[in-house]
Symmetry: C2
């Protein structure tokens, strides 16, 4: 009898345990945000892939990728022999690819990349289109009027937003000749001042590798000497909405770093025509590729 | 009279214009999410700052930072002379600092870092604590029972979550001796299989630089040979809640890259005791520092 009572108790507690795990516990508020809004959103990468051959200012020299070397044998690690590989990067500059410029790039009194606050994480994304005007004039620069026209269509720009300027300049990427042009779509100093002083945005970003085509780079000078950050080399702005998306901001945290290697991903509404949603493609586990990754000496990168 | 009519019309249209901009237009849904939930959240950085002297496996050799050189003069760019500086990185490995390992680190048939989907952006964050057990046994490894204990407290782990294991191992960071230890807190293979096969998480992460202390690294082998990703070198897990936070995932997009230089930022509830909220500290413009940034030859980095 005692044995049955014990068994009964054991079953009872097991049931309570199972129920307490599986019962529809109310989700914490931020997890509800994920389940209801972020999971079904469409994700669009706004980042260029970095290779040794992408457009970069000639004053920075060239960068090189190599397989990581075993310091004992001086041979590169190899999947077959060692079971793994890794990559050695010789990067001549942290002004490479899609970037986030901290003000210390020009002014050592302001923060370096590792000193930006953790609140540089996810923000409302405003995309202001100037590609039609750039098609007429490759040296067109965003004006205050262009910003006001955006606001008439979509409402006032939210404080703390990230504002990216769509010019379609990056459609020729990775043509290295892009970095040598003296005429390219820019952002006027007046527009930068309006965005920061009147609208109090977090930062703006543009597709080219410089803010404007003036001889003194007057826009970048004003931004970085006054403690503002900016994004450069932003991609795929033709695949995100002008309003209503968010953007995640990621970048490696190199001590005293002055730029570099940023990652921007747009989080667009679920009915948006570009991008992928969580669960739409295999992510864990990821899908096997048809071809194996291997080092290509001529290109200086691993390819399939 | 005509003049007054014209003036009246002009005033009328100006008013309409102003109202149409400033009227409380309904915000797009994802911007409401930002305004209501993300803006007031507390942001906690889970990333180590990368320097040439942080703990790293001796088999990868050392890395070096230098100021970027002007290829014409062979002199480093300098704030006083050139108006800007930049950084040259010689990184012996992409397995450095806080990492996101793509499966191609061990298996070339699976994706490299630039091939991960854009949905690796923001996820629910689960933090499973084992630091009390690690205090008794520095070689303690997370078990399925530890995960089940977490679920009894907080409910079933959400599909697609990021699961970080708190061991407090990183409290000794950046002591280089950390990378030489053969006993350190790990994650058992059974726990990894439970998280992926039963709970279908996106990826797990741990504070040490390896997944477990077995001679064959059996956990990492299982993960990467089966197409899963993992985070290593995660920091500050003592400053985030066990449940209810989100985490942003950022990393540079090097072609064919096999690890590296990731950024994780936890987005915690507004009443959480650690972290900063948007608008709580100056971010645009950022605050001037007391001391100027300058190159320190001995440390091999820019410091203040």
């Amino acid at each position: 009898m005692q044995k049955f009572a014990f068994l009964g108790l054991a079953i009872f507690f097991t049931l309570v345990l199972c129920l307490s795990i599986n019962a529809a516990q109310p989700q914490p508020p931020l997890w509800q945000v994920y389940q209801q809004s972020l999971k079904t959103a469409k994700y669009v990468d706004l980042t260029h892939t970095i290779t040794p051959n992408i457009p970069v200012w000639s004053g920075f020299g060239t960068s090189k990728f190599e397989p990581t070397i075993n310091p004992k044998t001086l041979q590169p690690y190899n999947y077959k022999k060692d079971g793994f590989e890794a990559t050695h990067y010789d990067l001549s500059t942290d002004q490479l690819g899609t970037q986030l410029d901290p003000p210390a790039h020009w002014n050592p009194e302001y923060p370096a990349i590792d000193e930006l606050p953790a609140t540089f994480a996810v923000r409302p994304l405003v995309v202001i289109p100037i590609q039609d005007k750039v098609a007429q004039d490759p040296n067109y620069h965003l004006t205050v009027k262009d910003i006001q026209a955006w606001e008439r269509r979509h409402g006032k720009i939210l404080e703390g937003s990230v504002v990216f300027v769509r010019s379609d300049w990056s459609k020729e990427w990775p043509n290295p000749e892009l970095a040598t042009r003296t005429k390219f779509p820019g952002v006027s100093l007046d527009a930068l001042k309006f965005l920061h002083l009147q609208r109090h945005i977090l930062f703006h970003g543009h597709e080219p590798l410089d803010t404007d085509s003036t001889p003194t780079l007057e826009g970048e000078a004003w931004l970085l000497h006054n403690g503002y950050t900016q994004a450069e080399g932003v991609a795929n702005l033709d695949r995100v909405p002008e309003t209503g998306a968010l953007v995640t901001i990621g970048y490696p945290k190199f001590k005293g770093g002055l730029g570099g290697y940023a990652r921007y991903i747009a989080i667009c509404p679920p009915n948006w025509s570009y991008g992928v949603s969580v669960g739409q493609i295999p992510e864990s586990p990821l899908q096997k590729a048809d071809k194996s990754l291997h080092w290509n000496k001529q290109l200086g990168v691993r390819v399939r």
